[in-house]
Amino acid sequence: LTDDSGFAEFADASWPRLVRIAHLLTGDFHEAEDLVQATFIKVYAHWPRLEREGADVHAYVRRALINNNNSRLRRRRVAQYLTPSLPDVARGDVRSADRAVDDRSAIAQALVSLPARQRTVVVLRYFEDLSDRQIADALGCSLGTVKAHAHRALAKLRQHPAFSDESLFSGAR
């Protein structure tokens, strides 16, 4: 008998989508899996209580994921300060015979170029299909702040070459 009734089922069912969300937030597959694993460890530690109180586990996990990602970014900023000459991330000038791959790389690059809060709002709004109110709840901020982040994110994306390509618009519709 285990004390985590239902946890394995929950983890199996939600892991792939959370890794995809984390991938969009981090821009890196391995970091995404690490982030989700760290989040699930916290969720597991609280699983008995979450079940007992009938909490919205999906909302809880999403919020924990966002907070963990913010902490990760904060640690990275510290690391960058302590390491003046960072290795290049080598995201630019991606060349491939496959145009679709090029497009996705460019779009991923545009997304990663956004500040963390703006990127999170974009991912929650357009991938998770959350309302702005739900996003505000997840981020622990006001509705006005979410709208401001979304507005600024869209303005920046509009300027990015990845979103100035007309073929992208025609292909998306």
């Binding site: 394995a8 983890a11 199996d12 892991w15 792939p16 890794v19 995809r20 969300i21 991938h23 597959f29 899996e33 989700v36 694993q37 699930f40 460890i41 916290k42 969720v43 597991y44 530690a45 609280h46 699983w47 008995p48 209580r49 979450l50 109180e53 909490a55 919205d56 909302a59 809880y60 919020r63 924990a64 907070n67 963990n68 913010n70 902490s71 904060r74 640690r75 510290v78 300060y81 497009d103 996705r104 779009i107 974009v122 991912v123 357009y126 709840d137 981020l139 622990g140 901020c141 006001s142 509705l143 006005g144 702040t145 401001a148 869209l154 979103f163 992208l168 618009f169 998306a172 519709r173």
Partner: protein
């Protein structure tokens, strides 16, 4: 109603395409369970320590021993005093007056927002006048949950919130999420405000790492 942006559809499609490009593996359940149990045990130990501290505080020992910034008035007797003796300590500070809120962390308030310094060089600033804070929407904003010492990720964490819309007692510090998950109990923390109850202030608390971004205020086991 939200107006559709021409970018809405391309972004939606692009995100799905990027997400579909990866193939997540299976969750490492063995590792998650092992480390999750370890975390439970550590958390239970940390909570035991916290309860001991609370018992000491109710005896009036801890409050008088807190390291107050010299010259800072502790205004727990002001008009915004907590509704119960266990409520948050309220400190009314002058504009620009630095308050030590955790080891190595200083906070100060001005009419345009609040600033703080920590172990990362530079002053951090959250404005209350740049339009990012909806002053017409009372509530708690400016989520910050970070280790007091960035090199000690498992060490104490500083939790800091800006609250907006005025405060009459501890119950107005609604630090609770809508879905019922409880964030830090506002009664446990400290409120810092400018004189004259300007309608906003900062609430903060320092808690063990295990209590950040997780349900708080009770035990699992």
């Amino acid at each position: 109603m939200m107006t559709a942006d021409p970018l809405d559809s391309p972004i939606r499609h692009a995100l799905r395409a990027i997400a579909d490009d990866i193939a997540p593996s299976s969750p490492p359940l063995t590792t998650i369970r092992r480390r999750g149990r370890l975390r439970r045990r550590r958390r239970a130990a940390a909570l035991a320590g916290t309860y001991a501290l609370v018992l000491a505080a109710t005896g009036g020992v801890v409050a008088s021993a807190l390291p107050d910034h010299e010259g800072d008035p502790i205004a727990s007797h002001t008009s915004i005093a907590p509704a119960n003796p266990g409520g948050p300590q309220v400190r009314v500070v002058k504009a620009g007056e630095h308050v030590t809120i955790a080891p190595g962390v200083e906070l100060w308030l001005d009419s345009d927002g609040y600033r703080w310094t920590d172990d990362v060089p530079g002053v951090r600033f959250h404005s209350v006048v740049d339009g990012n804070v909806d002053r017409s929407d009372p509530g708690v904003q400016g989520q910050l949950n970070e280790p007091v010492n960035q090199m000690e990720q498992d060490g104490p964490h500083l939790i800091l919130r800006m609250f907006n819309g005025g405060v009459n007692d501890a119950s107005d510090l609604s630090l609770f999420e809508n879905d019922g998950i409880q964030l830090p109990d506002p009664a446990d923390g400290t409120v810092v405000m400018l004189p004259g109850n300007p309608g906003w202030g900062v609430w903060y608390d320092v808690v063990p790492a295990d209590r950040v971004a997780e349900p708080l205020g009770g035990t699992d086991e």
